[in-house]
Symmetry: C2
Subunit: 437 residues, 2 copies
């Protein structure tokens, strides 16, 4: 059987099936490693090194003769023949096919966002953003006039967990790293804007949690703008929905995701965000042995809505699909997916987190939530190695407070072109800076 | 005062001066991190992650108000004014100037070597080589016909420590990783060639050590060819000095280094390998307050020869220059550099190393040498953080034996173009493969 995608869903499925020696599994991914997405923001802000959140897919299955890993980019899925075809023309098929292709950033057609903003969905995204942040600090340190041109303005689009976590982490990074390491930079000249079209950050949480988040971010100096989005991103500025022009070289896109491109390409019924509609047992209607799981799937929830695109839904649906596949092979009935909601949580920065735990979403915050966050994520981590190293990094980081792996890709820093924005905008930008209004 | 270069020499100098609060130091490097060069081959072979061997330069000096770090690429050095100019036109000068610009690979004019071979001198080099090795394993796993076209032929040029260490590490990687993780690959189809024009590997060691190295490499299956070099490197093959054409997509260049380009550009007296001649006290003749240290300097040795380009020479000369600078400032005499030879050593692979320790180069090998190697390198490591993490990695690696940070840069893997070598060569290559003669 064939699994497309080595994220939480695909890897969870493959791991479950690895114990069934009579099931031959081919796991296909475009990367040779699993990316631990919940921690990508820590790579972007130099708290973790890339290797801490990436785990070799082949390394997950030592000694498992029945699991094979292939590095390929899947371009087409054919449910009728349960086959997939890579961009370079190779084909795989099997008794069962699991599509766990994940998702991609959704720019909602915002002009310039795809070209100029920094999404945070893959390890490449995280290292790109890290190099941009460090490059801006280095350049502003050498030429403080760049600060007036937005070198230390960070604009984060979207007030969900990604946006809140990135905003908090950038604020911590600037508060801690700049005074300690950049002698000629004034940390108070940095501005971190967190934008959301809605009326609350972290919407699914309670009002009390919203107050807590607002307070923590305000303490960190993050400037939160609710009811505000971005209507255009350029290389040197962002235009907000209220018309303000903000000079910036760093727009982080946490504005939403949509299903992976393969969903649209294979001509199947799609729900919200382009996700492929599946039956409660995670199979594709009118097909035999085709499962769709994780972010790419539109999975019915308990009350008729769709389950959210979360790591825990992905992991659980992948494992469930594995069990249904084994049931199929054994001639037993498939079971409808029952999502076990362990809660939702977000880190707002160093030592500050909120978590809504368990079915009834009992809320906790502060240090206890921080520990819960660590625990849940350690559990999600597939590799013991990655777990140990990430904790060494964390522990060390908490101890030294300045010691992250600040490795800047030299070419990426050089790639910031300060002559590519028109002077009119750069000049007007200062006056139009919402921060000064 | 100004220091150009954050390698062992420049960083050693800056660290020594950091304790003199009345000396203001500007440390300039093209990277924002120090690269621990002796371990780059472990990054290239997925034993260490890049962050393990890179340490933020700014992070080395927490709380040191007198040390400033700037990210810049130095294009010109003017000894008369003790000033340096960056590629983007900024200038720095001071009472003292330390040039510690390091070295670069020396291809000795070998056609195609600069374009197609993989040197191992910087962190970028190491991650490029890592992606190439992993990319070849992935591609050969998917398409075994590529093995006949050289996908698993690794050609290492140069039998010094770099060449020997890379050859041993690639052999270990293939012996351990391929059977464990690449189900469809046959490790015995891989060939690792180690070439050297001379008549011995690791020339400075004794005959007994040479026998040991030869035995260890033979046990690992490395094919050593002495009296043999490479006369041309192309994208899909290497032409050896004996005329043999070897199909390969991975030629590792350990064939020598020369002084950094700035040495040739600043019109100073140069010795072997383009190194800048310095007086015994590490100053430049006919200048005031200009020091040249580390690999870029041609430092007189005790017996009239030049000191070798080693990490320990660089570190010690940098520290020595700092002491002479302080002496200058205090109106005291400078002292001639006295190199304390702690020995030379090389790792030949997992658990096998040789070391010639102390002034009389008492030789040890095997596990004891391995420990000595670890100890010396741990001592050279500037950052406690990097030290701890590297040891976690090592310990973990020794425990699991397959668990390195095999993170493949996807774009780098895709960059291997199998259509770019002419068919005649690819066809002829098999017959001309020296391994089959």
């Amino acid at each position: 059987m064939v699994i497309v995608g080595g994220g939480f869903a695909g890897l969870g499925c493959a791991q479950r099936l690895a114990d069934h020696e009579d099931v031959a599994v081919t796991l296909i991914d475009r990367n040779n490693h699993h990316q631990f997405q919940p921690l990508l923001y820590q790579v972007a802000t130099s708290q973790l090194a890339p290797a801490d959140v990436a785990h070799s897919l082949r390394g997950v299955f030592p000694g498992k003769e029945n699991v094979d890993v292939k590095l390929a980019d899947i371009a087409a899925v054919d449910p009728a023949s349960r086959s997939v075809t890579s961009t370079d023309g190779e084909q795989w098929s099997g008794d069962a096919l699991v599509v766990a292709a994940g998702s991609q950033p959704n720019f909602f057609g915002t002009p310039g966002a795809a070209e100029h903003s920094f999404p945070l969905y893959s390890l490449d995204d995280a290292t790109r953003l890290r190099s941009r942040i460090l490059g801006l600090l280095e350049q502003a340190d050498r030429d403080p006039t760049l600060i007036d041109r937005g070198a230390l303005n960070f604009v984060i689009v979207g007030g969900g967990p990604t946006g809140v976590e990135v905003a908090g982490a950038i604020a911590d990074m600037i508060a801690v790293t700049v005074p300690a390491e950049y002698r000629d930079l004034d940390a108070s000249t940095a501005h971190i804007y967190l934008l959301d079209y809605g009326d609350e950050l972290l919407k699914p949480f309670s009002d009390k949690a919203h107050d807590y988040v607002a307070k923590v971010l305000a303490d960190k100096g993050v400037e939160v703008r609710l009811g505000t989005g971005v209507k255009e991103v350029a290389s040197g500025h962002a235009v907000l929905s209220d018309g303000a022009v903000l000079p910036t070289r760093c727009v982080v896109w946490g504005g939403g995701i949509k299903a992976a491109p393969v969903a649209a390409d294979c001509d199947l019924a799609q729900g919200r965000g382009g996700r492929i509609d599946v039956s409660p047992d995670l199979t594709l209607a009118d097909s035999r042995g085709v499962y769709v799981v994780g972010d790419v799937a539109n999975i019915p929830g308990p009350d008729g809505t769709s389950l959210p695109q979360l790591g825990s839904v992905a992991l659980q649906s992948g494992i469930w699909a594995a069990d249904n596949i084994v049931a199929d092979f054994r001639g037993k009935p498939r079971k409808p997916f029952a999502y076990r909601d362990k809660g939702i949580m977000a880190m707002i920065g160093r030592g500050a987190a909120i978590a809504a735990v368990g079915k009834r979403h009992h809320e906790i915050h502060g240090e206890l939530a921080h520990m819960a966050w660590l625990g849940v994520h350690a559990e999600l981590m597939t590799g013991t190695r990655a777990r140990i190293e990430a904790f060494v990094d964390w522990a060390w980081d908490g101890f030294t407070r300045t010691g992250g792996p600040h490795v800047l890709d030299r070419t990426a820093a050089a790639a910031i072109d300060w002559d590519d924005d028109n002077e009119a905008v750069a000049g007007a930008a200062r006056a139009g800076d919402p921060a000064s209004r």
